[in-house]
Symmetry: none
Subunit: 430 residues, 2 copies
Amino acid sequence: MLRVEAMAIGDELLDGRLSDTNGARLARELGARGVRLRRVSIVPDVLEDIIAALNAAAERSDVIICSGGLGPTDDDRTRQAAAGWLGVGLERSQESLDGIVARFAAVGMKITPNNERQADFPAGARILETVVGTAPGFMCEHPSGMRAFFLPGVPREYDWFLSTHVMPIILPDVDQTLARETIKVFGIGESAAEHALGGLELPEGLVLGYRAHFPEIHLTLTAWGMEGDEGQQLVQSARQMILSRLGRFMIAEGRQTLPERVGLRLKEAGATVSTAESCTGGMMATMMTSVAGSSAWFNEAYVTYSNDAKSRLVGVDPALIEANGAVSRPVVVEMARGAAAAAGASYAIAASGIAGPGGGTPTKPVGTVDVAVHSPQGTYYRPLGMRAYWGRERIRQVTAHHGLALLLKILEGRVGDDPKVVGPLGEGEQ
Amino acid sequence: MLRVEAMAIGDELLDGRLSDTNGARLARELGARGVRLRRVSIVPDVLEDIIAALNAAAERSDVIICSGGLGPTDDDRTRQAAAGWLGVGLERSQESLDGIVARFAAVGMKITPNNERQADFPAGARILETVVGTAPGFMCEHPSGMRAFFLPGVPREYDWFLSTHVMPIILPDVDQTLARETIKVFGIGESAAEHALGGLELPEGLVLGYRAHFPEIHLTLTAWGMEGDEGQQLVQSARQMILSRLGRFMIAEGRQTLPERVGLRLKEAGATVSTAESCTGGMMATMMTSVAGSSAWFNEAYVTYSNDAKSRLVGVDPALIEANGAVSRPVVVEMARGAAAAAGASYAIAASGIAGPGGGTPTKPVGTVDVAVHSPQGTYYRPLGMRAYWGRERIRQVTAHHGLALLLKILEGRVGDDPKVVGPLGEGEQ
């Protein structure tokens, strides 16, 4: 089997500022093609460290894929290290330079002398041109026979180089047309999802991967190197098996996002949605409007942070807040109803809760959040009990996800699958 | 400085099933204590690979912290590898075995022979007992002098071992001489920032790092291992030099975020803020309410996506929209004024633009966005011309950042530094 390893280069990956995700990306891409990565190394922007790591790799691997350190600034040392390792000089490629200048010009920017260095490559390197960023990558062959790829560290650019340049070179014979399906679940943890799928007998040749994509878990089914439709059929049958166990947590599939799926369902129904947000502070509206074309089903929304705003903007009776507190079932139910009425929308999501770090009480600790969705069939309510140690931002993100997931399940007629949902509540019911 | 590296062990980290997060965790923990990790390696559950990696580490580091491969199953090889590396045998610890049996009994489970192996340790190892999982960790000292820690790979357990066992042993008196300052700039690219700082003569011993943290660039000044206040003084003088060149792009310093700095200034002024958001769809309100305690200066905000919402919620004259279009200076200026009036707030930010991918015209292409801030001194306006290829989400994020940055500069009396800002416009001026 082809011996492949990865190296990520950058001080920021070793001092706590940033995490490398490219190693895991490469592992997934290779794993899907039946190749297990042999090693991942993360090294600092130090010439000797990069060279030593390249030399060690040359003793055990056929291919190394390096990322990072190709930027325009002085602390980016990868191109010097590659040249030093190979014992050659750096040469400027006029063609690459022209390309960099053109890409800058296209966005109305002028190139700086620093950027010009991005057209320098070790003598004899194969230049890997880019259309997704400014820096080209390159490939060199070491006297040991190891091929070394040097790619930008930015994940979006790295991904593009992997599929466009690297895979076709290192695995020319592997069927690059994989069968793959992603099931996105929310409201269940990674190990609970794994536990729920325990004993599931997947057909030979299928790989099931778990990936945390906070606050979602993405399950990826991959079949590689199969004839004709066989891979696709296996993936689809496994997908059904997984959905039969975890379907109630499913909030999207494939490349679709949760807000995109919500938007699609609203569009199909000819419906519109609004929000009334306290602890989420506009996050649910932001998610909705992340969808291109959302103006077809989204007109307006309300951030009702203060009690006064809850009354003035979405008509919650101040006495109701006084009696129950702003974080309570009656208040969030009225917020959802009031938002739908004020916006003239068919649906509205409301959220009110204690995101912390302050504001918790013994009966309503930090993480106590109420979510409600008003719909033409009535109003649905769901309490959320989160943990204070998650922190303010995670509590807000999970809350916003619950709001949209609740709306989606109502739109898809599967809200009954969630035992924690109360409703539909009729007019006046709280 | 203590030379520390990390090794994560496990096939599942190299075939795409799981990502290692322990390396990044350790980097953060050490980084906070002024120590930069020297390397992270991820190796498979292969005896020879683990031993080779341990030997290589012993040549360059004082401490290695290994995680994973301590489980009960056959494919977990870490304890054998550690013993093989040290040239000693494995010995069973009766005390550890009793602990494992007791922890299993406490959760009503019976121990299997496989689990008993978790009480085996290389002869002479220091056993690190656990209260958070089943497997104890251990520490060995290699003849080279390197200390090697072997910890479970489960992140929750790994964290616990790090703080309970590892840090107190390797950093008994943490080096306090680290001096660090971060300057966060926005509205300038990474290479333009470096270009602007070209020729800046930083004192010996100071390191200047650039990190893209979209849409901000973070400049980090670090001085290592200096006596007394020397490091702090050097960092502060370099900070002044950088601010003299890039000060107008500075939107926060240190751990503070842009919304936190905006909130602090509002609090100092006893002022409040609201927003009227079209293309950002609530993102600016979400940023504001990300700040703990934001209820002191934030009460409510409006997502005015449709033209009708712009008129009904924040009082923009429909004729003005008809005459100028929703993305225009007069409309965004009125949105800001109207939001402040409707919310009874001292300040209000408004944004209206074409985030794409659809909706562009030859005169107003995708990326055309208008931002305004109403203040007690009048209303300020800033046009933004972004590029369609940035994509919808980036255009929205940059817009939201511009909105908060404009407010910050008004609050700090430095809005005049931005040549693209128009204002203050008096009542009726558009």
